[in-house]
Amino acid sequence: MKDFILLFVSFFKIGILTFGGGLAMLPMLKLEVVEKNKWANEEELMNYYAIGQCTPGIIAVNTATFIGYKQKGVLGAIISTVGIVMPSVIIITVIAAFIRNFMDYEIVQNMLMGVRIAVAALVTSAVIELIRKGVKDFAGIIIFALSFLLSVCFGISPVIIVAAAIFLSVIFVLKEKPKGSN
C-alpha cells in the first residue's frame, strides 16, 4: 500500500511541477525516480523515456506508466498514470470553469484575440523545430509536403496519414539493403 501511495504522490508532484511537458519533464523525473526513490538508474530512465517517445500517446505519461509497471505491475502502472495526469485534470477544470464567466467581457475578447496571435507564433516555432529535427532528406520533404497537402486540401484524417506513414516505414525497412547505417 505504501508503495502505491509513494508512486501516486511522486508522479502527482512531477505532473504539477512541470510546465510544458515533454523534455521539460526530464529533470523532475530524474529527481523523483532516480535520486529520491531509486526506482531506476539514469540509463534505465532514459530507456523508458525513449520507449515513451516511440509509442503512441503522451511521452511523460508513457514514462510514468512504464516506471509504475516495473515497480508494482499493472496496478502500479495505473496508479502512476493517474498520478501524473491528475494535476492537469484539476487545474484545467478549474480554469475552464472560471474562464467561461469572463468570456463575454469585451476586454477579455480583445485579450484573447492577441493570445491567438501568440499561440500562432508558439505553434509555428514548434513546427520549425519539428522540421529541423525530422525532415532531413528529399524523402522527408516529400512526406512532409504530402502530409501537409492531404490534410489541408482534402481534409484527410490524421489517423489515416499516421497509419500511412507507419505502413510506408515498414516498406522502407523491408526494402533496405544491408549497409552501414548512418
Binding site: T18, I95, E106, V115, I117, I141, S151
Partner: protein, 197 residues
C-alpha cells in the same frame, strides 16, 4: 451520446498521436471541424491555457476539450467534470495498455529496426500534420479570408497589424526560448492595444 463520442475520439487520438507535445493538435482540429463540439477560436484559447499551466500539453488539452464540450451541451459543472475525466482517461488508455505489453514482453522494443525505422517517415508526416493545423490557427489569428472573398483584393487577405505582432512574437520565441506563458501574456497585451487603435 456525447460521452461515448468523446471517449471514442480521444481513444483514437491517444492511439495515433505519436511524438508528444503538440501531436494531439491535428486530431483536435479534425474534431473541431467534424463534430462542432468547439470552435477553432475556442481551441486556440485551450492551447494558450494548456501551454501556460503545469502538466503535459496533450493531457491538458484533452481535459479542457472534455470539460468544455460537455459544458456546452449540459451546462452543469459536475457533469462537465465527468467530461474532463472521460477524455483524459480515453487519451491515456491506449498507451497504458501498449506500455504494459511492451514492459512485459518487449525488453528491446527501442532497438527494434521497425520501431526505429518508423520515425524516418513518422517525423516528417507529423510535422506536416501539425503544420496543417497551424494554418488553421493563422486563419483565426491574422488571416482575413472572408473579406478577401468579398473584395478579391490581396491587401484584404492579411490583417497587417496582427501579422506584424505575430512576426515580432515569433522572432522573440525563436530567439529567447523563454516559457510560453510570457509570449501569451505579451499577446494578451497586444490584443488590448490593437483594440484601442
Amino acid at each position: 451520446m456525447i460521452f461515448m463520442r468523446l471517449f471514442y475520439e480521444f481513444f483514437k487520438t491517444g492511439l495515433f498521436a505519436i511524438g508528444g507535445g503538440l501531436a494531439t493538435l491535428p486530431f483536435l482540429y479534425d474534431m473541431s471541424d467534424r463534430l462542432g463540439l468547439f470552435t477553432r477560436q475556442e481551441l486556440a484559447t485551450m492551447i494558450a491555457v494548456s501551454e501556460s499551466t503545469p502538466g503535459p500539453i496533450g493531457v491538458n488539452m484533452a481535459t479542457y476539450v472534455g470539460f468544455h464540450s460537455v459544458q456546452n451541451e449540459y451546462g452543469s459543472f459536475l457533469i462537465s467534470v465527468l467530461g474532463a475525466f472521460t477524455t483524459t482517461a480515453a487519451l491515456v488508455l491506449p498507451s497504458l495498455v501498449i506500455i504494459i505489453i511492451i514492459a512485459k514482453f518487449l525488453a528491446k522494443f527501442g532497438e527494434n529496426k521497425f520501431v526505429n525505422g518508423a520515425f524516418y517517415t513518422l517525423r516528417p508526416a507529423v510535422a506536416g500534420l501539425i503544420g496543417a493545423a497551424v494554418l488553421g490557427i493563422y486563419q483565426i489569428a491574422f488571416l482575413t479570408i472572408d473579406s478577401f472573398k468579398k473584395t478579391h483584393n490581396f491587401m484584404d487577405f492579411i490583417d497587417f497589424k496582427s501579422f506584424i505582432i505575430f512576426a515580432v512574437i515569433l522572432f522573440l520565441v525563436l530567439k529567447l526560448k523563454k516559457h510560453p506563458i510570457i509570449y501569451i501574456a505579451l499577446g494578451a497585451v497586444s490584443g488590448l492595444i490593437l483594440a484601442v487603435n
